[in-house]
C-alpha cells in the first residue's frame, strides 16, 4: 500500500532535505511575522491617531489586501517588488540585481500579514478602557512611556488570540512561496517526492511537520496568553 518498508527508508534518506525545508519555513515565517507585526502596530496607531489622509491610505491598504487571494498577492508583489527595486537601481546608475528569494519572501509575506495585523492590533488597543490611557496622560507620561507601560501590557491580553491566529496563518501561507520558486518545506518536499516518485509518503511527512509546527505553536501561545493575563481576574 502507501507505506511499504522502503518508504520509511526513503524518508530516512531524505530527512536532511525535509528538516532543512522545515527550518527555512520557520525562518521565513518568523521574520515575516516580526515584519508584519511592526507594520501592523504602525498601521494600528496610524488608524487610531492619524490624520484623515493617513487613515484613508491605511483603510485602502487593509481592505485591499484582506479581500484579495494570498497567492495572487504574493505573485503580484513578488514581481512588483523585484521589478521596482531594479528600476530604482538602474535609475541610480547601478546594475540590476537578482533579488534574494529569502528576502523577497519575507517582505511579501510580512506586507500581506501587516494588513491583518493592523486590524487585530487596532481592535486590541481600542479594547483598552479609555480611562487608563487618560490616567497615564494625567500622570504626564510621554507618548513612548505611555505606550510601553500602559498600552502594550493592557492590549496584549486582547491581542494574543488574534496574534496566535496570524502566526498559524503565516506558517501555512509561507507554503505559497513555493509557487514563486522559493525552496521552503513545501517545495523541498515536492522536489524530493518528484525524484523518488514516492509522492504520498513525502507529502504526508511534510503535512506532519507542518502539523507539529502548528501544535507546538498553539501550546506556546497558550502559555504566553496565560502569562499576559496573569493580573486579570479569572472568568468563569
Amino acid at each position: 500500500m502507501f507505506f511499504a518498508v522502503t518508504n520509511w527508508e526513503l524518508l530516512w534518506l531524505w530527512k536532511g532535505t525535509l528538516f532543512s525545508g522545515a527550518l527555512s519555513t520557520i525562518e521565513i515565517s518568523f521574520l515575516a511575522y516580526l515584519f508584519g507585526l511592526t507594520l501592523g502596530l504602525g498601521g494600528a496607531m496610524g488608524k487610531i491617531t492619524g490624520g484623515k489622509y493617513l487613515k484613508s491610505v491605511l483603510e485602502v491598504y487593509t481592505t485591499l489586501i484582506r479581500s484579495l487571494p494570498e497567492l495572487l498577492l504574493i505573485v503580484m508583489l513578488y514581481y512588483l517588488g523585484t521589478d521596482t527595486l531594479n528600476r530604482i537601481l538602474q535609475g541610480l546608475g547601478y546594475e540590476a540585481m537578482r533579488i534574494n528569494g529569502f528576502t523577497a519572501a519575507v517582505v511579501v509575506l510580512g506586507f500581506v500579514m501587516g494588513a491583518y495585523a493592523t486590524e487585530v492590533l487596532r481592535g486590541a488597543i481600542q479594547a483598552i478602557p479609555v480611562g487608563q490611557i487618560e490616567a497615564a496622560k494625567a500622570y504626564g507620561m510621554s507618548p513612548f512611556l505611555r505606550f510601553r507601560r500602559i498600552i502594550l501590557p493592557a492590549m496584549l491580553p486582547y491581542a494574543i488570540p488574534g496574534m496566535s491566529n496570524l502566526w498559524l496563518n503565516i506558517t501555512k501561507d509561507s507554503a505559497l512561496v513555493a509557487v514563486v520558486g522559493y525552496s521552503e518545506l513545501t517545495l523541498q518536499t515536492k522536489q524530493a517526492a518528484g525524484t523518488t516518485k514516492a509522492y504520498f509518503t513525502f507529502f504526508c511527512a511534510a503535512a506532519l511537520l507542518y502539523l507539529i509546527i502548528s501544535l507546538v505553536s498553539l501550546r506556546l501561545f497558550g502559555e504566553l496568553e496565560r502569562y499576559v493575563r496573569r493580573g486579570q481576574p479569572k472568568l468563569g
Binding site: S67, A175, Y199, C204, Y210, L211
Partner: protein
C-alpha cells in the same frame, strides 16, 4: 498599460470565472454537509467518533491547503493509475483531471474549518431549548431536525459570509494543479503575451468584485432571517 490582449482572452477569462465559482460552490455545499456531522459527533457522539472528527479538524486546520492539495493530486493521482479497475471505470475521466483533486481538497478543507465552527454552534444552543424539546417527547432525530440544527445554523450564519470569502481566496491554489480557473487564466495570459501586471490587475479587480457580491448577498440573507434581540 496595454490591454489589447483582452478581447482575445475574454472567453478564457469567463470560463475561468465559471471554474472558480464551480470550485467555490461545490466545496461550500458538500463541505457544509460534511461539517454538520463532524461538528455534531464532537458534541454528542461516542468517544472514538469524537476523536476521529477532532483529529480531522486539527489536521486540516494545522497544515497548509497547498500541501493537502498536492498530497491528493500527486499522491492519490499517482496511485490511482496503478489500479486496473479504476482505470477502466467510468470515473477515470474525472479522476484524471486536476479539477477533481482541487474540488476534493477544497471540500475537505471547508469541512474541517466549518466542522470546528459547527461544534461551537451546537454547544452554544441554550440547553433549556433542547430540554424543552425532549420534554415534548421529541425523538433525538426530531430534536436535531427541528430545534438543534436550525438554531446552530442561525448562530453560524453571521460568520458564514466571512468563511465563504476565505474559501474564495483559497481557490487560486487550484491553478497549481493545471486547473485554468480565474487566476490560472491570468497565468496563461502572462505566459502567452509576456505581460506581467495587466492580467494580474484584471484578475485582482474581478476577485474584488466577487468578494463584494458575496458580502452583499450574505448581508441580504442575514436580513431575511427573523431575529429576536
Amino acid at each position: 498599460m496595454d490591454f489589447s490582449w483582452f478581447p482575445h482572452y475574454l472567453p478564457m477569462i469567463i470560463y475561468g470565472i465559471w471554474l472558480t465559482l464551480n470550485l467555490l460552490v461545490i466545496s461550500l455545499v458538500i463541505g457544509f454537509i460534511l461539517a454538520v456531522p463532524i461538528g455534531l459527533v464532537q458534541v454528542t457522539g461516542p468517544r472514538w467518533l469524537k476523536w476521529i472528527a477532532a483529529g480531522f479538524c486539527t489536521v486540516i486546520r494545522g497544515t497548509p491547503l497547498l500541501v493537502q492539495l498536492w498530497l491528493l493530486y500527486y499522491g492519490l493521482g499517482s496511485f490511482f493509475p496503478q489500479i486496473p479497475w479504476i482505470r477502466q471505470s467510468f470515473l477515470w475521466p474525472v479522476l484524471r483531471e486536476g479539477f477533481f483533486y482541487a474540488g476534493l481538497a477544497f471540500t475537505l478543507s471547508f469541512a474541517g474549518y466549518e466542522g470546528a465552527i459547527m461544534k461551537g454552534a451546537f454547544l452554544s444552543v441554550p440547553k433549556g431549548e433542547l430540554e424543552a424539546a425532549r420534554a415534548f417527547g421529541m425523538s433525538p432525530w426530531t430534536v436535531l431536525r427541528r430545534i438543534w440544527l436550525p438554531r446552530a445554523f442561525r448562530i453560524v450564519l453571521p460568520t458564514l459570509g466571512g468563511e465563504v470569502i476565505l474559501q474564495l481566496k483559497a481557490t487560486p491554489i487550484a491553478a497549481t494543479v493545471t486547473v485554468i480557473e480565474l487566476y490560472g487564466a491570468s497565468y496563461q495570459i502572462r505566459q502567452d503575451t509576456y505581460r506581467v501586471y495587466e492580467p494580474l490587475l484584471m484578475v485582482a479587480i474581478i476577485y474584488l468584485a466577487l468578494t463584494y457580491v458575496i458580502t452583499r448577498a450574505f448581508n441580504y440573507i442575514e436580513r431575511q432571517v427573523p431575529q429576536r434581540r
